[in-house]
């Protein structure tokens, strides 16, 4: 796969506090790469260092496909986390300005703007002023602004924050279709469920440090153990007799058993003791969301992984 962006050994400190510690990853053409982490983990700082809005103390950011110094701004689309647009100007004017800043031909931009407005359910809004749009509509216009010039690399910082579910779906579809057309996409988010659905690879960051880096499949294989949710009134002592269980969370009638890494679910189910009361039973993998919470709160529900995170 063709690498578009390579980040190598980023270090950054604010005053005495080191906010990025040796961050390295790559973003390839035609994939969605997600940076995940709790608030304040260093996601936006990493992105700002890539965009040249901040400069790292150490480390390099390389844009492949780009000769010469600096950042190929015209080939990058960027949707910052802190975003807004001029209030008292028309949608078309502001989008054309953004396209012009990227040196994208204006006649082509105009056509694309109209297409996108239609796609995003904003048809006929091109001559409406930004201040008359709802917040969600404004977000859509900002998104159009980020992709209007057909960027090769698209960087989206928390693209779903503040969006209603319908708009989230529209954004997800559009991001996927951009990926399928070969755009390299770097996406940061703390909304795990959305990311789990769409990302190809992920980079999890906590307190400025890498926690997990790899493809979604590998990460799930490696970190997302099976867990078994049992509904039924059981004594904790009874549950503790079940083998290959690392941790038990019990809340009234519902107990969640976190299984060991190498467990074989078929065999494990067969040897469940007879005295366990089961009204409902579900077995599935720990979700990205739970891995994330686990890391963010340092709860170390999955004890083995906890050691890796620490």
């Amino acid at each position: 796969m063709e690498t578009m962006l390579e980040v190598k050994g980023l270090n950054k400190s604010f005053k005495d506090k080191q906010v990025l510690k040796n961050i390295s990853f790559e973003v390839n053409k035609g994939e969605i790469m997600a940076i995940l982490g709790p608030n304040g983990a260093g996601k936006s700082t990493t992105i700002r260092n890539i965009m040249g809005i901040m400069y790292p103390d150490e480390g390099t950011v390389t844009f492949h496909n780009h000769q010469g110094k600096g950042i190929p701004q015209n080939k990058i689309g960027y949707l910052p986390e802190e975003r807004g647009l001029y209030k008292n100007v028309k949608v078309m004017d502001i989008l054309l300005y953004l396209a012009d800043l990227k040196s994208y031909p204006l006649d082509k931009a105009k056509k694309r703007i109209l297409d996108y407005l239609k796609k995003f359910d904003l048809e006929g809004k091109e001559n409406v002023k930004m201040e008359e749009l709802s917040k969600g509509m404004g977000q859509k216009v900002q998104f159009i602004g980020a992709v209007i010039h057909e960027p090769e690399l698209l960087i989206l910082d928390e693209p779903f924050s503040g969006l209603d579910p319908v708009s989230q779906e529209i954004f997800k579809d559009e991001i996927r279709s951009l990926r399928d057309n070969g755009t390299a996409i770097l996406l940061s988010s703390h909304q795990m469920n959305l990311v789990e659905e769409m990302c190809d690879r992920l980079f999890m960051i906590q307190r400025g440090e890498k926690v997990i880096y790899g493809s979604l499949y590998d990460v799930k294989q490696e970190y997302a153990n099976f867990k078994c949710t049992i509904r039924g009134s059981n004594e904790r002592g009874t549950l503790e007799t079940i083998p290959e269980v690392e941790n038990i969370e019990q809340d009234g009638d519902v107990a969640i058993l976190y299984l060991t890494k190498d467990v074989n679910p078929n065999r494990w189910l067969k040897q469940l003791p007879d005295d366990v009361t089961i009204q409902e039973l579900a077995i599935d993998r720990v979700s990205l969301h739970e891995i994330f919470i686990d890391i963010a709160t340092d709860k170390r529900l999955m004890s083995e992984e906890g050691e890796i995170h620490a």
């Binding site: 809005i53 910052p80 807004g84 209030k87 300005y97």
Partner: protein, 414 residues
Amino acid sequence: MRNAMKVAKWEIKRNMKNKTFLIGLFLTPLLIVGFGLIGSWIGGSSDDGSYEDEMTVFINDEIGIIDELTQYASESGLEWSIEETNVEIGDVAAELDGAEDTAYIFLNEAALNEGVVPVYIAEDVDPFFSSQLAMFQGPILAHQMEALGLTEEQSLAVSRGIQFAEMDAEEMTNDEALEDEASGEDFLAGIVPAAFGGIIFISILFTGMAMFQSASQEKKDKIAEIILSSVTPEELMQGKIIGYFVLGLVQAAVLLVFLVPMILFLTDVPLFEYLFVTETLLFVLLAVLNYLMFAAIFVGIGATIEDVTTSGNFQGIVMMLPFLPFIFIGPVVGDPSGLMAQIGTYIPFTAPGVLLLRLTMLDVWPWLEISISLVIIIVSVLVFIRLAGKIFKVGILMYGKNATPGEIWKWLKA
């Protein structure tokens, strides 16, 4: 630079489509022209004096010059009705009782000999009356000398008296110019280029202040980061400075479109003849430099303020800097070559304004001072643009709070 021009173009376009800006654009000249017309209307009628009632001057003339005095008064434009009277000094009190705008003058041999002419005036008489009366000194003296048998030349020599005039040694070279009768026209010729420079000065200064608003708003609306993904902070700042400069020129142009016809209509000043002189160039240069200096300061400070209502004193003080030259207006008008005027010429914030004012008033330009001042201004402009760039770069991306002076100082040192 190409990106800076794009930003500039956008700022111009955005403002030209903005109702608030357009209203301001046309309201400013309308106000100025409006006040001008009202002023000339009031000024025109005030020629008659605010004490519009006609003054009646009774003269008990025993020496026979009442005709000369009447003629003299009307030539001087005084609206006095001069009448001869036989009222004696003893009866004046009764005559004046309840009278308004009335005066009694007693001209007789005794008065001439003593050199004191008794004048009795009613209450409520124009306070300027006694000074206007002094004008009668001339004809009365002339009459006296004629009576003494002096020739016309002799009487002229005596009546001229001796005066002490203070001369400025530095302006000695200009004495010839002073002797020109046409000094009134000279004054206008000096004022017109300066006024032209002044209009540009004020216009672009005000749009420069609008730039503060623009930078602060951009920070508040969180636009900056989107824009900065396409241009560098320096380009964004330059673009803003250029853009608002053009907007200022537009404001000046609109102002002149209203003002020039008014001046041509109200006066017979040969405006264009006075305008197209080299002095105008210097005044315009001063206006531009002044703009650049304050534009840099405003764009830098604007980037540190997200919410004007909670901004600290520091920013408030900086916002007042462009008005600093006003402190110097009094002293400079009083003495355009004085110490205060010179100090003002060498302080970066006041130099352009004070220089503009001084050059309007001085007949001979102190080229050495002008050169030093220009160097100070140009160096300050370069320094301020550089410092503003540093502040702008960090400040515009600091969301959610205003920067403290401490933080700004840290960015400057970085």
